[in-house]
């Protein structure tokens, strides 16, 4: 896995649940590949593919359509997907949507077709989604004010 590989991180201190990330993904791929839910009724949480080191979706795929790249990304060769939904059942985070689009399961590719990075991150209206490396993430304050549950930062 390359050290400079970037991932999508969420800063809960900023997420306002506007679903702009979902809209950006849907306008690019016809169906959103980033899921949307909430922790409490006023704290929202978009969930993108975690690109696991040992992806269960790839292990479950009977036709090896899902593969881990050298950079550590889990990518799908959509052309070979038969729509068996095994990956959807296998994903422990429920990130892959139950519905198929054109008989193909929808899997986040971190917008490999776009040089500047994922559209959900670029579009994020409040700046809650960040596209950073794991090392950068360790140095960045992400969701700390949310986790502290201090009324001086944020009420939940």
């Amino acid at each position: 896995m390359e050290e400079n590989q970037k991932y999508i991180f969420l800063d809960l201190d900023y997420c306002i649940g506007c679903r702009s990330c979902e809209a950006a993904c849907r306008s690019a791929f016809s169906e959103s590949r980033i899921r949307y839910g909430n922790i409490t009724e006023t704290v929202y949480m978009p969930v993108a593919c975690r690109h696991c080191e040992e992806p269960l979706c790839a292990a479950a795929c009977p036709f090896e359509v899902l593969k881990v790249t050298e950079q550590g990304l889990v990518l799908q060769a959509s052309f070979h997907c038969v729509g068996c939904k095994s990956c959807i059942l296998a994903c422990p985070f429920g990130v892959l949507d139950k519905s198929l689009l054109n008989h193909v399961s929808q899997k986040c590719s971190e917008c490999k077709d776009r040089e500047e990075g994922p559209r959900c991150v670029a579009s994020c209206a409040s700046g809650a989604l960040k596209f950073i490396t794991k090392n950068e993430a360790k140095k960045t304050i992400v969701s700390q004010r949310f986790l502290s549950r201090s009324p001086f930062w944020r009420r939940t």
Binding site: I16, A23, V43, P151
Partner: protein, 557 residues
């Protein structure tokens, strides 16, 4: 086959924030593929967009786009349509003709429309955009409107109404400023527990429609400055009703004092105000008091509302036009825009009395039945000037106008050629503040709210994600509190029938803690639920008020 790519940038016209909206257009032979781009270098939004901006390509390529004029819902040729309209117009005197316009017009379109009205000597010209936010165009003198830098440097924020749903892009500068220092404060007043409440240091969950009363309560706590602006007598009158207000709103005096203290002692700040369709009983009072509060709070405080509407008010009010239609004085209506009459089903039926009714539109919608429907380019396909919160901005066409559409100026040229006169309309109405009217209205509102504690109130709720129903089909869901759900023996996802004076509608129950007891919230982003809310005429302004509705809920077995 070679691919040609080009990025076209415009100013997003869907709200007043003024985001840069780029589109990557790739030509593959005779096909054009459009994708939204995100311009990190953009000054206002740094590439960020809300769900509405992301819907731009879908709106351009929507299959529901109207591509031919319709006469009584049948397709008709443009030449015949325009010559018939021109011919029919000659049968009516200028007093029998009315012209309306909505927010989806550029300033250049509006100039052409006013020229058209002047040329035909038509005085019955009104705004057909009836959203409650238009009440912010009654602006008080001396109110200082917030600029982006005021928000970025702000230390205390008071948000009244769900501003994050109206303009999601405002969240970034507000939250950045709030998190910059531990002593910075964000206060929130609303009748629904929306997304903003999760970020507030103090959330005042007031009873439906009573937001203006809490603003008056805040004014009543700021004795020094309020006395100097309003006078001792008026201030003591307000002070007298303070306990009554707090009782009506179900808010404790301590909570109001906490906010009042922070607003008065922290120097820089911004007051945000937003109103939704079917959520405010008295939008005029809301608008006037929110602006007055920004004047009364000591220190450097500015005011920001999502629609310090940039569109002119016209010569008469829309309600006066309806009255004129009812009386048979107005026989012809020509409407320029994209929203009316589909988004206002309550008033659409009043148009049956017209001899003929011409409207422009971009979408084919079965709910509207004007005689003539003329397709125009959508606001994304126009060039010209629009207004934003930060001043004028230029828009460029993101695509060629849809086949079969004609611009407003082309239509006007064909219907009424050789127009000479030209005059511009006033954009906002400056009002002088009349404290007696305000106190009277506040007392009325208190009276209205005191007796209705046990009735079921239906509130409207809007979100950027629900824009035109493109990204969501939540329109069939209503929100209900756990206590009410238990009373009706409802489970999550059960079908319920909502009955109001106007209509019965079936919804899916969404049981949630974000609505108080005896309150139902329904989405009003698309026209379908808007019929639940009756329209009343405001006595002072003669504008339409779309207030919360009353109704009851039955479980559907």
């Amino acid at each position: 086959m070679t691919n040609k790519s080009e990025i076209i940038k415009t100013t997003c016209p869907f709200c007043l924030y003024g985001c840069t909206l780029p589109i990557l257009e790739t030509s593959r032979g005779s096909f054009i593929v459009r994708k939204i781009e995100y311009d990190v270098a953009a000054q206002i939004n740094q590439g960020r967009l809300c769900a509405r901006g992301n819907a731009a390509t879908m709106i351009l390529d929507d299959r529901q786009r109207l591509t031919s004029p319709l006469f009584k819902n049948k397709k008709i040729d443009w030449v015949i349509a325009l010559s018939q309209i021109k011919h029919q117009l000659k049968d009516f005197s200028s007093k029998e003709i009315a012209i309306t316009f909505d927010i989806n017009n550029t300033l250049e379109d509006l100039d052409a429309i006013f020229n058209f009205a002047n040329g035909l000597k038509v005085d019955t010209i009104a705004r057909s955009y009836l959203e409650p936010e238009t009440f912010f165009s009654y602006s008080l003198p001396d109110v200082k409107y917030a600029e982006l830098k005021d928000i970025e440097r702000g230390k205390v924020f008071l948000i009244i109404g769900d501003i994050f749903s109206k303009i999601p892009l405002l969240a970034k500068p507000i939250l950045d400023a709030k998190y910059a220092n531990r002593n910075n404060r964000l206060f929130y007043i609303d009748s629904l527990k929306t997304r903003v409440s999760g970020f507030a240091n103090r959330f005042l969950w007031t009873r439906p429609g009573t937001e203006p009363l809490l603003i008056l309560a805040l004014i009543a706590t700021m004795s020094k400055t309020a006395k100097s602006i309003l006078g001792d007598k008026n201030f003591s009158n307000i002070r007298k009703v303070l306990p009554l207000i707090l009782e009506t709103c179900n808010i404790s005096p301590d909570e109001i004092m906490e906010i009042s203290k922070a607003l008065s002692t922290i120097s820089k700040g911004v007051i945000f105000a937003a109103m939704d369709y079917g959520k405010t009983d008295d939008p005029f009072l809301f608008s006037e008091l929110a602006q007055l509060l920004s004047l009364i709070i000591p220190g450097d405080k500015t005011f920001c509302a999502p629609a310090l509407t940039s569109i002119p008010v016209g010569k008469i009010r829309f309600s006066e036009l309806i009255e004129s239609i009812n009386q048979g004085k107005t026989k012809v209506l020509i409407n320029f825009g994209e929203i009316f009459p589909d988004y206002y089903p309550t008033v659409a039926s009043k148009m049956n009395n017209l001899k003929f009714f011409v409207t422009t539109t971009t979408y084919l919608n079965n709910s509207s039945k004007p005689n003539w429907i003329l397709p125009i380019p959508s606001i994304l396909e126009k060039s010209g000037t629009i207004m934003t919160l930060w001043g004028k901005a230029n828009i460029k066409p993101l695509a060629k106008p849809v086949n079969g559409s004609k611009s407003i100026s082309e239509i006007i040229d064909k219907i009424a050629p050789d127009l000479e006169s030209s005059s511009k309309m006033k954009v906002t109405e400056k009002t002088t503040f009349d404290i007696d009217t305000i106190i009277d209205r506040a007392l009325n509102l208190i009276e209205q709210k005191r007796d209705t504690k046990d009735e079921m109130t239906i509130l409207g709720e809007e979100s950027a994600f629900g824009y035109r129903g493109i990204f969501t089909n939540d329109a069939k869901q209503l929100k209900i509190s756990q206590i009410n759900a238990q009373k009706l023996n409802l489970k999550q996802g059960d079908l319920v029938k909502l009955i109001t004076n106007n209509i019965e509608k079936i919804f899916v129950a969404n049981i949630t803690n974000t609505v108080p007891t005896n309150v139902i919230a329904v989405p009003t982003d698309t026209p379908e639920n808007r019929i639940l809310f009756p329209m009343q005429i405001d006595n002072t302004t003669k504008d339409f008020i779309i207030a919360p509705a009353k109704g009851k809920l039955n479980k559907l077995i």
